[in-house]
């Protein structure tokens, strides 16, 4: 190994772990930085010891292969400089700024792989700030990390294939009061199904068997619904919706899991110098990379933070990024691996494109949000305030400007959960595709610490 090579991988989910595996196999020892206490990622999140008792119920026939995969990942991480609880909050001049268990630190790298995943993409609705509303991904993390159901009567609502997976996981752990309200019509899924089958027949059929499992388990399933409002005095008590035939319905509930697909976490990539392109199918901005994830002289991006694709695509992309990185170090490329991973990645991306067509992001709803609906949860900015800012006569209507005027996107989550809807509201006013919110460091709130050195002794004026 060249002594002046220092490879940093940010994120120990499927993409980061695949990159680490490929580099370790080539005899290198990357630094792997992970914000949470465990490797694994989100969809493939490791189970809390409290939930692990139910491992075989939760994973069924896959339980053994998942255990094998996790053991293999741990074996790879033992050969890395693996740092958990470590947030990379800024990137500049080939250096990452870190906040870890022992405080602030920085890391100068020669090569950087960013694989920080995605979070739920949300369309606001009346009542979505009430206690008891969680993201759809959060509802799954509740099981796996918090060993808890989010409520006694749970509604999974929105437009995502994960509605069905999350409900099945609740069912497998014994929850018996579950409703799935899917806003996407059955016809759209039927149209996209042949493409899903062509790209990934196994996964497509798994989806069908998931729905059968929910139906057998007595889960209420409704497709093509319109979500109207979540109501409750100080917490969720019911969700009002209309069926596909326009009949008004009420679901009594004490918890709602809301999700409309996934949103790439692109902040760190932007700070590391990536440029962006708008993807009209996903209606979001992804960083530009070549076929193997290279985004700059020293920069590689992989997994959902580069482009939404799921765990299998992330594994292929992480491996390809590491192959490309090895080539840049003058190592011979493994042509067989590159061919295999490129094929896997293409298949998964084709599948995801069909899925995103079936479970469509409800972009147009942003324009119809009532004025009193909160769009920004952190700073409590309403749709009406955003509309007023859009009507400001001075200067161009641009998403970052609307953010400055309204403070929508300036709160603690830094636009992660209001950003997509804010973008669509601006887009509906301009007729252009949604703009992109610019990133500023720190990418998460961090404590401000001014270390001015030892205080001068009193009376000792200098």
């Amino acid at each position: 190994m060249q002594t002046d090579t220092r490879i940093a991988i940010v994120g120990a989910g499927p993409a980061g772990l695949a990159a680490a595996r490929t580099l370790v196999e080539a005899g290198l020892r990357p630094v792997v930085l992970e914000e949470s206490p465990l490797a694994g990622g989100q969809g493939t999140r490791r189970l809390s010891p409290l939930t692990a008792l139910h491992r075989s119920a939760l994973f069924g026939a896959s339980a053994q292969s998942i255990t094998r995969r996790e053991d293999a990942e741990d074996a790879v991480l033992k050969q890395c400089d693996f740092r958990t609880g470590t947030l990379a909050w800024a990137c500049h001049d080939n250096r990452l700024e870190l906040l870890g268990p022992d405080g602030f630190d920085s890391l100068t790298y020669t090569h950087l792989v960013i694989a920080v995943g995605a979070t739920d993409r949300l369309m606001p609705m009346p009542g979505w700030t009430l206690p008891g509303v969680f993201t759809l991904g959060g509802a799954q993390v509740a099981l796996k990390r918090h060993a808890s159901f989010i409520g006694q009567k749970v509604v999974f609502a929105g437009s995502s294939p994960l509605l069905y997976l999350a409900a099945a996981q609740y069912l497998r752990l014994g929850h018996r009061d579950l409703t799935v309200l899917d806003t996407t019509p059955a016809s759209g899924k039927a149209r996209a199904f042949p493409a899903m089958l062509r790209h990934e027949p196994h996964t497509a059929l798994q989806g069908v068997s998931l729905i059968a499992e929910l139906w057998r388990g007595g889960v209420t399933l409704r497709a093509g619904v319109r979500l109207d409002r979540i109501e409750g005095d100080s917490r969720v008590q019911r969700l009002r919706y209309a069926t596909a035939r326009g009949r008004d319905m009420t679901a009594e509930a004490d918890a709602v899991a809301l999700g409309h697909g996934l949103r790439a976490e692109t902040q760190l990539a932007e700070l590391a110098g990536a440029t962006f392109a708008f993807d009209p199918a996903f209606r979001q901005w992804f960083p530009r990379t070549d076929d193997r994830g290279r985004a700059g002289e020293r920069l590689w991006l992989a997994g959902d933070s580069a482009r939404i694709g799921g765990a299998e695509a992330a594994d292929a992309a992480g491996s390809l990024a590491a192959q490309s990185l090895l080539e840049s170090l003058g190592r011979a490329a493994d042509a067989h691996c590159i061919r295999r991973d490129t094929r896997r990645l293409r298949k998964q991306h084709g599948f995801q494109r069909a899925m995103t067509d079936a479970f469509r992001w409800p972009a147009k709803q942003a324009a119809t949000l009532a004025d009193d609906v909160l769009v920004c949860r952190c700073e409590r900015v309403t749709a009406g305030e955003i509309r007023a800012a859009l009507a400001t006569p001075s200067g161009p209507i641009e998403v970052n400007r609307v953010k400055s005027i309204t403070r929508c996107g300036m709160g603690r989550c830094q636009g992660r959960f209001c950003g997509p809807a804010l973008g669509e509201m601006v887009a509906s006013a301009t007729g252009d595709p949604p703009g992109r919110l610019r990133t500023q460091a720190p990418i998460r709130p961090i404590p401000l610490v001014f270390d001015a050195g030892p205080m001068a002794p009193e009376g000792d004026d200098t």
Binding site: P131, F134, T135, H146, A147, S148, R412, R416
Partner: protein, 103 residues
């Protein structure tokens, strides 16, 4: 008709799991399972873990994976932490709002 509404949000996946750990949240005692998170322990007995500074509405976490910051809490020294990313430990003393004006 009286509708029973539980005064807590989360349901432990195994209701019988012992709760041997104790910590303090806004001066009240919270019990927790071993390997519990602070947020899961709080929401197992309450319906919120704080209030929004702008309109006083309850907040009870949202993404549960460290991204939304809606389960922000503070320790006695004014340090901010995320309830969903913090393991419950015996003797913790936490607050739903900052103690000494930091942050």
């Amino acid at each position: 008709m009286v509708i029973f509404v539980a005064r807590h949000l989360f349901q432990p996946i195994d209701p019988g799991t012992p709760r041997p750990l104790r910590f303090e949240f806004d001066g009240a005692e919270i019990t927790a399972r071993r390997n519990d998170t602070v947020l899961a322990a709080v929401l197992a007995s309450r319906e919120r873990c704080g209030v929004n500074e702008f309109d006083g509405g309850g907040r009870a976490g949202f993404c549960l994976m460290g991204s939304c910051q809606e389960c922000t809490m503070w320790d006695e020294d004014g340090r901010r932490l995320r309830g969903c990313m913090t393991e419950a430990r015996e003797g913790l003393r936490l607050r739903s709002r900052p103690h000494c004006g930091s942050d």
